[in-house]
C-alpha cells in the first residue's frame, strides 16, 4: 500500500443472494484527489458507496481508510474514523432547524465539537454552501437545491477525511448545476478528498482528476478522465454494442 492514499479498496465484492452487485473491485484514492465513480444505471456505483460508508458490509475484499481496515465495521464507527456522505435521495432531518442539521455532523462526526463551537462551525459551513442567514429556518422551507446544500454542509461538519457524494448534482436545473459544480470545485481546492458518483458527464470532465468506470458490478476502466471516456469498452458499456 503506497503512502498518501486515503482510501484503498481491495477486491471488494457484494452479493445479494445470487446477484453480484459489486464484483472484485479495487481502486485507490490519494489525499486531495477528486475521483469520479461512473457507469450506467445499475452498475453497482451506489452499492460501492454503501460498502465504503458502512451502510452495507462487503461479502469479500477489504476497504482501508488511512491504512486501517474499515470494511465490516458499523457505519457510525466508519463515520467517526472520517467518512462522511450525502445520499442519492436527499436526506435531511425535517424536525430540526437548518443549523441543527449541520450541528448534527459537527457533534458526532470525525472532529467532535459541542456547544458554541459546533454552532459556530455550522454557521461557517452554512455560509460556505450558500445558506448564510438561514440557520433558524425550518428545513421544510428549503428548496431542493438548498436541501442538497444542507446535506453537503452536514457532511462537511463531520470534517471528513473522505467525502462521498452520491449523485449530489442529480436533479438540479442548469443554473443550479453551475452553482453546484462551483461548490465542489471549491471543496477540491480546499484539499478535500472526494469520491463522487455522478451521471452529469460535464461535471466529471471538468471536476475529476481521475475516474473509475463500473459496469454490471465490475470495474471496466480507470484513469485520467478524457482517456477513459474514449475507451471503446466504456463507450460500449454506456451506448451498447453497435449493430453489425
Amino acid at each position: 500500500m503506497s503512502k498518501g492514499n486515503i482510501l484503498t479498496v481491495d477486491g471488494a465484492t457484494k452479493t445479494f443472494g445470487g446477484l453480484v452487485a459489486v464484483r472484485d473491485v479495487s481502486f485507490e484514492v490519494a489525499e486531495g484527489e477528486l475521483l469520479g465513480l461512473i457507469g450506467p444505471n445499475g452498475s453497482g456505483k451506489t452499492t460501492m458507496m454503501n460498502l465504503i460508508s458502512g451502510a452495507l458490509k462487503p461479502s469479500a475484499g477489504t476497504i482501508r481508510l488511512d491504512g486501517r481496515v474499515i470494511s465490516g465495521r458499523p457505519a457510525h464507527e466508519i463515520a467517526r474514523r472520517g467518512v462522511a456522505r450525502t445520499f442519492q435521495l436527499v436526506r435531511v432531518l425535517p424536525g430540526l432547524s437548518v443549523r441543527d442539521n449541520v450541528v448534527a455532523g459537527a457533534v458526532f462526526g470525525h472532529s467532535r465539537h459541542w456547544g458554541k463551537d459546533a454552532e459556530t462551525l455550522a454557521e461557517t459551513l452554512l455560509e460556505q454552501v450558500g445558506l448564510e442567514g438561514r440557520g433558524s429556518a425550518p428545513v421544510s422551507t428549503l428548496t431542493y437545491i438548498d436541501q442538497k446544500r444542507l446535506e453537503l454542509a452536514r457532511a462537511l461538519a463531520c470534517n471528513p477525511r473522505l467525502l462521498l457524494l452520491d449523485e449530489w448534482l442529480a436533479g438540479l436545473n442548469p443554473s443550479e448545476l453551475r452553482i453546484g459544480m462551483a461548490l465542489i470545485r471549491d471543496l477540491r481546492n480546499e484539499g478535500r478528498t472526494i469520491v463522487m458518483v455522478e451521471h452529469v458527464m460535464d461535471a466529471i470532465r471538468s471536476l475529476c482528476d481521475r475516474c473509475v468506470v463500473m459496469s454490471s458490478g465490475s470495474k471496466i476502466a480507470e484513469g485520467e478522465v478524457r482517456a477513459v471516456l474514449s475507451q471503446p469498452g466504456v463507450i460500449e458499456a454506456y451506448l451498447g454494442v453497435e449493430d453489425a
Binding site: 460508508s53 458502512g54 451502510a55 458499523p74 457505519a75 457510525h76 464507527e77 463515520a79 467517526r80 462522511a84 456522505r85 445520499f87 436526506r91 432531518l93 425535517p94 424536525g95 430540526l96 441543527d100 450541528v103 448534527a104 455532523g105 457533534v107 458526532f108 462526526g109 470525525h110 459541542w114 456547544g115 458554541k116 459546533a118 454552532e119 452536514r154 463531520c158
Partner: protein, 321 residues
C-alpha cells in the same frame, strides 16, 4: 446550548411552584383528593419516564409493568433487611438492568414486533415470579409493612416527578438527547454522522426503566400485600401508553396533559361503571386515537397557530376598514 434559556428558567419556576403547591395538598385533605392526586403523581412519573424513551424513538413499549413490578418486589423482598431508600435504588437498578438486557436484544426489532415483545416480556416476568413464589415459598404474596401513609407516598412520588423532569431536561440538552432527536428523524442519517444508535437507544431505555422501577418501589407500601397480579398488572402498561399518547410525546411536560384528565375520567368510570371499566376505557382509547391523534399538546399547538392566524386576519380586516 449549555446554560438554561430565559423561558426554561420560567418553566423551571412553574414546575417548582406546581410541585410545591401539590405538596401542600395533604394539609387540606387526606381522603379522596389525596388519593386521586396520588394517582396523578404516579402516572405523571410513569408517563414522563415512558416518554423519555418512546417520545424520540417512537417505539411503543409495553414493558412498563415489568419494570414497575421489579421495583415493587425489590421493596417487598427486602423491607425487613434494608432501609427503604436503598430498596428504591435497588428497584431502579434492577429495572434498568432488565431494560438493558431487553434493549440489547430487541431494539433491532421495529414497530409492532417491539410492542409484542415488550408485552410478552412483562407477562414472562410475572409468570416467573409467580412460579418462583409458589415453588420456593409458602404463599403467593408478600406483606409490606411500613409507617408510610398515603401522604408520604404522595410526597415521594412528587420528588420522583421532580427528578424525572430535571433529568429529562438534562438529557434533552445533552449529546444523548441530541442523538435521540436525530435518530427519531432519520436513523440512517444518525448512523452516518457517527451516532452509535443502538447504544443511545439502550441507554435511554435503561434510564426510563430505572424511573419506572423506582416508582414501583415507592408504591409498594401502598399495596401492603404484594402479589404478581398487582405488581405486574398489564393494565399499568396500557394506561401509561394511553395517557402519554393523550397528552402527547413531543415535550417533557406533555404527558401531564393526558395524565390529569384521564385519571379523573378513570376515577369517574370506575365509580359509575365498576363492572364495565375495561369497556369504557377501551372506547376512551379509541376516541383519543381518532379525535386527538397528536395528543392534547398537539391540539394546543394547533389552537395557538389558528388563533394567531385569526388575529392576523382580524388585524387585516380592521386595517381595511
Amino acid at each position: 446550548m449549555i446554560r438554561p434559556t430565559q423561558s426554561e428558567w420560567k418553566l423551571a419556576g412553574l414546575a417548582i411552584l406546581g410541585l410545591g403547591t401539590a405538596a401542600l395538598l395533604p394539609v387540606v385533605d387526606e381522603g379522596y383528593y389525596l388519593s386521586i392526586a396520588l394517582n396523578m403523581a404516579l402516572y405523571a412519573v410513569l408517563c414522563t419516564a415512558w416518554t423519555l424513551f418512546s417520545g424520540p424513538t417512537h417505539y411503543i413499549s409495553l414493558a412498563t409493568a415489568a419494570f414497575f413490578g421489579i421495583g415493587t418486589y425489590a421493596v417487598a423482598l427486602g423491607i425487613d433487611a434494608l432501609p427503604f431508600p436503598v430498596l428504591v435504588g435497588l428497584g431502579a437498578l434492577g429495572a434498568a438492568l432488565l431494560a438493558g438486557l431487553v434493549g440489547a436484544a430487541t431494539l433491532r426489532l421495529s414497530g409492532v414486533y417491539f410492542v409484542i415483545f415488550t408485552l410478552g416480556l412483562a407477562e414472562l416476568v410475572r409468570q416467573l415470579v409467580t412460579w418462583a413464589q409458589t415453588s420456593f415459598t409458602t404463599s403467593v404474596g408478600l406483606y409490606v409493612f411500613t409507617d408510610f401513609t398515603e401522604k408520604h407516598i404522595f410526597w415521594m412520588l412528587l420528588a420522583l416527578a421532580g427528578a424525572v423532569y430535571l433529568i429529562g431536561w438534562a438529557v434533552n440538552r445533552s449529546r444523548l438527547g441530541f442523538a435521540m432527536r436525530i435518530i427519531g428523524n432519520d436513523e440512517t442519517v444518525a448512523r452516518h454522522v457517527g451516532i452509535n444508535t443502538a447504544r443511545a437507544k439502550v441507554a435511554l431505555f435503561m434510564l426510563s426503566g430505572a424511573f419506572i422501577g423506582a416508582t414501583g418501589a415507592v408504591l409498594a407500601p401502598r399495596f401492603a400485600y404484594v402479589e404478581p397480579t398487582s405488581a405486574f398488572n398489564p393494565m399499568i402498561s396500557f394506561q401509561v401508553v394511553i395517557m402519554a399518547l393523550l397528552g402527547g410525546t413531543g415535550r417533557l411536560w406533555a404527558p401531564l396533559l393526558g395524565v390529569i384528565p384521564f385519571t379523573i375520567l378513570f376515577d369517574w368510570v370506575t365509580a359509575r361503571f365498576p363492572n364495565h371499566t375495561s369497556l369504557v376505557i377501551g372506547f376512551a382509547f379509541m376516541a383519543i386515537v381518532y379525535l386527538v391523534p397528536r395528543g392534547v399538546s398537539g391540539l394546543l399547538a394547533d389552537i395557538r397557530r389558528l388563533s394567531g392566524r385569526l388575529r392576523i386576519a382580524f388585524a387585516e380586516g380592521a386595517g381595511r376598514r
